[in-house]
């Protein structure tokens, strides 16, 4: 029994999401190999080789794999899939994009967003925005899985010494091409992996007012997040959205400011270790999941809090 973990990376750096997927692989048992599919990604393969518990790294390096196009990456995974009992992807935008293509081609079910491993064929996963946890068993010969990264503590990035084996990179499918990317530059930590997250909701009232969270996030070294309502209203960018269909986060500290707490939002943050809610409405559902609730006007409370810490 050997598990293949598909590495999340940007051709230069191995992303932390990979370490959580490797942790899930360790919970399944057997050997763990990592596939790095990229272009000029030798450094990523070397980083993957050092990850604790990894016994082999496969490096597929080719121009067709530079931008992570689903058609090419899925073909690459399928090219090496033959020897594996389990194929794991982190449940990131990239992993969710590619994994079902692999599963369909192998004619097996995919198990999405697992939060626990019960045995080599039985897993727990949230359904209905996390309002229920299903235990599912797969009878397929190969298990294609995406891993909710917040549910598995990352393995150590250092300490391993796996061999790197180069495999032939697939050719371009010819049906899709990369046009461009708009990534906001930020000195703040990445939302999905941040230890502290400060999130704003509709209560902020405008994109201008949203900036009131900046000094607090700066002081805490926090990532910024937002509710769907705040994103839909244009107060915050799309990729800040925390919730059922946005990012799933589980930081040490989650500070919800002016967020009422719709079930879809709670689905994205209720596994945070400590939750603080600041809202002027004492009846807001967010207080139902908060460890510490403070009823008050956020425009007074937030600057005061920023000052006090």
């Amino acid at each position: 029994m050997t598990t293949l973990v598909i590495a999340e990376h940007d051709n230069a750096q191995l992303k932390a999401a990979t370490l959580s997927a490797v942790a899930a692989a360790a919970a399944i048992g057997g050997e763990t190999h990592v596939l790095v599919a990229g272009s000029g990604a030798q450094a990523v393969a070397e980083q993957a080789a050092k990850v604790a518990g990894v016994s082999k790294v496969l490096l597929a390096d080719g121009a067709a794999l530079e931008h992570g196009l689903a058609e090419n990456v899925a073909a690459q995974v399928l090219a090496v899939a033959g020897n594996y009992s389990h194929i794991l992807f982190p449940a990131t935008a990239a992993g969710k994009n590619v994994a079902p293509r692999v599963a369909a081609k192998l004619d097996v079910a995919q198990i999405s967003d697992i939060v626990a491993v019960e045995s080599a064929d039985t897993f727990q996963r949230p359904i209905y925005a996390g309002n229920a946890i299903a235990t599912v068993q797969s009878s397929d010969s190969v298990k294609v899985i995406t891993v909710r990264t917040t549910a598995f503590d990352a393995v150590a990035a250092e300490g391993g010494s796996a061999a790197v084996e180069t495999v032939a990179a697939v050719a371009d499918s010819g049906t899709s091409s990369f046009v461009g990317r708009e990534f906001a530059k930020s000195d703040r930590p990445e939302l999905a992996g941040a230890a502290i997250v400060v999130s704003g909701g509709r209560g902020l009232g405008s994109a201008e007012n949203f900036k009131i969270l900046d000094p607090l996030a700066d002081k805490l070294g926090a990532a910024l997040g937002a509710s769907r309502a705040a994103v839909d209203a244009g107060y915050a960018p799309n990729d800040w959205q925390v919730g059922q269909t946005g990012k799933i986060v589980a930081p040490q500290l989650y500070v919800a400011v002016g967020i009422s707490g719709a079930i879809q939002h709670l689905a994205g943050m209720k596994d945070s270790k400590v939750i603080v809610a600041i809202n002027k409405d004492a009846e807001a559902p967010i207080f139902g999941v908060a460890d510490y609730g403070l009823v008050g006007d956020l425009f007074q409370v937030v600057p005061e809090l920023t000052e006090a810490i």
Partner: protein
């Protein structure tokens, strides 16, 4: 250009589901059912393509129980021209749905299939990608902008860290994210008109597709409840609690 739009009947997004006491699943008897919100965005996008003269026909498809007809009528009230129901009482998993849709795509020969990125009941986020793989078509998931240009479609996608734009050669698969559009309000005259639009019913057997589930649900339980929190009177108390009790700052 024909556009196919699969739609799923799901528990309404405002309903907080309850887990059944025998742990066999969630209780969906007597709860409000609606079209999956992401599928509504897909129907709206297809309808706008038709209104812009890009699409010539919009076909809505639903797989599931007989009541999914209502979901198809909603799609036709938004703007789909006709509906196809693949009727079955079997629990359909994403791979089975993708196979049913492939069989329909083979018959209907659309140039574009627009699906919701995920259904809000099983939260699987698989069907569009699986359909693309089975057809050997390119895909653009999590779309926030779709522009058809000749034999290509350019799609802006919501990805971790920002936005990415890719171009696909048609035929292709697109799955919708929240910001692609805001679905129109369905008016009564359009609901009446939708009742007269054609709706065909087929079965998995007639399409030659084996829909037997591959995953067995052993049990469904409530998530672990969070320990009850406390209300703090002021910022000073909050900071003290975070520093000395929770020790997170």
């Amino acid at each position: 250009m024909k556009v196919l739009v699969p739609v799923k009947r799901v528990v309404d997004y405002n309903v907080k589901v309850r887990v059944k006491s025998d742990q066999s699943g969630v209780d969906i008897a007597n709860v409000k059912m609606s079209m999956n919100p992401f599928d509504e965005i897909a129907v709206e996008e297809a309808t706008r393509l038709k209104e812009a003269g890009v699409a010539t026909e919009v076909v809505a498809v639903s797989c599931g129980v007989a009541q999914s007809q209502e979901t198809l009528r909603t799609a036709m009230a938004i703007g789909a021209d006709r509906g196809v129901l693949v009727q079955t009482d079997v629990e359909l998993q994403p791979l089975a749905v993708a196979k049913l849709l492939k069989a329909l795509v083979d018959q209907e020969q659309p140039k574009l299939v627009i699906l919701g990125k995920q259904a809000i009941d099983d939260d699987a986020n698989q069907t569009g990608q699986m359909l693309a793989a089975l057809l050997g078509w390119p895909q653009a998931t999590f779309a926030s902008k779709v522009e058809v240009q000749g034999d290509k479609v350019q799609v802006t996608r919501e990805v971790d860290g920002g936005l990415e734009t890719i171009a696909l050669t048609l035929p292709a698969i697109v799955t919708t994210d929240l910001r692609l559009n805001e679905p129109r309000y369905v008016t009564l005259p359009n609901i009446m008109k939708a009742k007269k639009k054609p709706l065909d019913t087929v079965t998995p057997e007639s399409l030659g597709v084996d829909v037997a589930p591959r995953l067995k649900t052993l049990k469904v339980v409530e998530p672990a409840a969070r320990k009850a929190g406390i209300m703090v009177p002021d910022v000073a108390t909050l900071v003290d609690k975070l520093k000395n009790e929770a020790k997170v700052i």
